[in-house]
């Protein structure tokens, strides 16, 4: 056993961490080895010296209370920070969400069925003439709340008025309303504030 190994063993013997088997060996050596005895005495003196240093006289109850208050303050600060974040971040988030909803609404309104729809353009044979056709349907007419008062028919205009071959198709051309219905009552969406205008 080297001197360093002996010192290490004695140090652990003194502080009680030496395994039992080694403890018996060191214990027997301490009986008749002056060098080992001197090392053990030094270790015990150092331990006593280190442990003799006093601790501050602390009022533990006050310290515990102070720590508790510091934690309370920390939690309050966290809540205040979270509240600030909610005040400043949530409105911005809501604005973004509202914009997104608005955009989605516009897209749905444009693409939804029942709204204006442009059919595929095509070529239609009308007797001996070939005519390019584009059919546009809608938007749907508002439905009057009251009974029909009168109905006015509007005849075909332009070449449809003069060419009898085209006249049957005049109602399919969206150059003017095919008919106008005058009815009593308000339409569902008509604002009452502006009535009767």
């Amino acid at each position: 056993m080297t001197r360093e190994e002996l010192e290490f063993s004695i140090s652990r013997y003194v502080d009680g961490t030496l395994p039992d088997g080694d403890r018996a060996t060191v214990g027997s050596r301490l009986i008749d080895d002056p060098e080992a005895q001197a090392l053990a005495a030094e270790d015990r003196a150092l331990t006593n010296l280190l442990r003799s240093s006093p601790l501050p006289n602390v009022r533990w109850d006050r310290l515990a209370e102070s720590i508790s208050q510091a934690i309370d303050q920390h939690l309050e600060d966290q809540i205040a920070r979270a509240s600030w974040w909610m005040r400043h971040r949530i409105p911005a988030g809501l604005a973004v969400a509202a914009s997104a909803l608005l955009a989605i609404g516009i897209v749905i309104r444009v693409l939804a069925p029942g709204r204006s729809h442009v059919a595929q353009p095509g070529i239609k044979s009308l007797g001996t003439q070939t005519v390019a056709m584009l059919t546009v349907e809608g938007p749907h007419a508002d439905t009057a709340a009251g009974p029909e008062v009168t109905q006015i028919s509007i005849g075909a205009g332009g070449s449809y008025a003069t060419d009898s071959a085209l006249a049957p198709y005049a109602d399919e051309i969206d150059t003017r309303p095919a008919r106008i219905v005058i009815a009593s009552g308000l339409t569902p969406n008509q604002p009452r504030a502006g009535f009767p205008y």
């Binding site: 010192e7 290490f8 140090s11 652990r12 502080d15 961490t17 030094e42 270790d43 003196a45 150092l46 331990t47 010296l49 280190l50 442990r51 003799s52 240093s53 006093p54 601790l55 501050p56 006289n57 602390v58 009022r59 533990w60 006050r62 310290l63 515990a64 102070s66 720590i67 508790s68 510091a70 934690i71 920390h74």
Partner: protein, 199 residues
């Protein structure tokens, strides 16, 4: 020294409840470990006010970091790691003392000694000569401790002085139990050399 009776909840139980926002459970952990925290910090810093400030900071940091505590039963070692790290950082940064009324936590003798000498080691004797000798010895011991490498100093503070279990010290220092024994041995060897005149 923490005292846990048979009916007391274990550290693991208290820490587990504290993780679930039980403030009372954390309060119990504070009462259980505040003395050890102050002692370790004081041995590392050599100053009551600094040790108290570090202890407060350490418990606050522990509370706000509870979610990162992987083994609630190892709360003690984890807390001591926070205490020792904060103490070492405090020394390195030589932070200005806070304006907290820390004297309120100290008994009269400590509050006065703090301003007078800066070293409280061995200064408790009523005999002026012995008190002076004690102060001298305390200063030498403190200087010797400061001269040790950090891990050796912490191992001696926690094991030899505070008598903490080596397993807990190993968790605190982030090393094996065998390494703790070696740090203690090496530190003691250097201290014996530096203090041979006064031993």
């Amino acid at each position: 020294m923490k005292v846990v009776t048979a009916s007391s909840p274990t550290d693991g139980e208290l820490a587990g409840r504290a993780i679930n926002s039980d403030r009372a459970a954390f309060g119990e952990l504070v009462r259980r470990y505040q003395r050890q925290a102050v002692a370790v910090s004081y041995r590392l810093l050599g100053n009551s006010h600094d040790a108290l400030e570090v202890t407060q900071d350490a418990f606050l940091k522990a509370y706000s970091s509870l979610a990162t505590l992987q083994k609630p039963e190892a709360f003690g070692g984890w807390l001591m790691r926070i205490v020792s790290n904060l103490s070492l950082n405090f020394r390195r940064s030589r932070r200005t003392r806070s304006q907290l009324p820390l004297d309120d936590f100290l008994g009269p003798a400590d509050a006065q000694a703090e301003g007078a000498s800066g070293s409280e080691w061995m200064a408790a004797s009523g005999d002026p000569v012995r008190r002076l000798e004690g102060q001298e010895l305390g200063k030498k011991l403190q200087e010797a401790m400061k001269a040790l490498p950090e891990k050796q100093r912490m191992a001696i503070v926690m094991f030899t002085i505070e008598e903490m279990p080596q397993k807990q010290i190993a968790e605190t220092l982030g090393c094996s139990v065998e390494a703790v024994k070696w740090h203690v041995f090496q530190g003691r060897k250097k201290l014996k050399e530096m203090l041979k005149d006064v031993m």
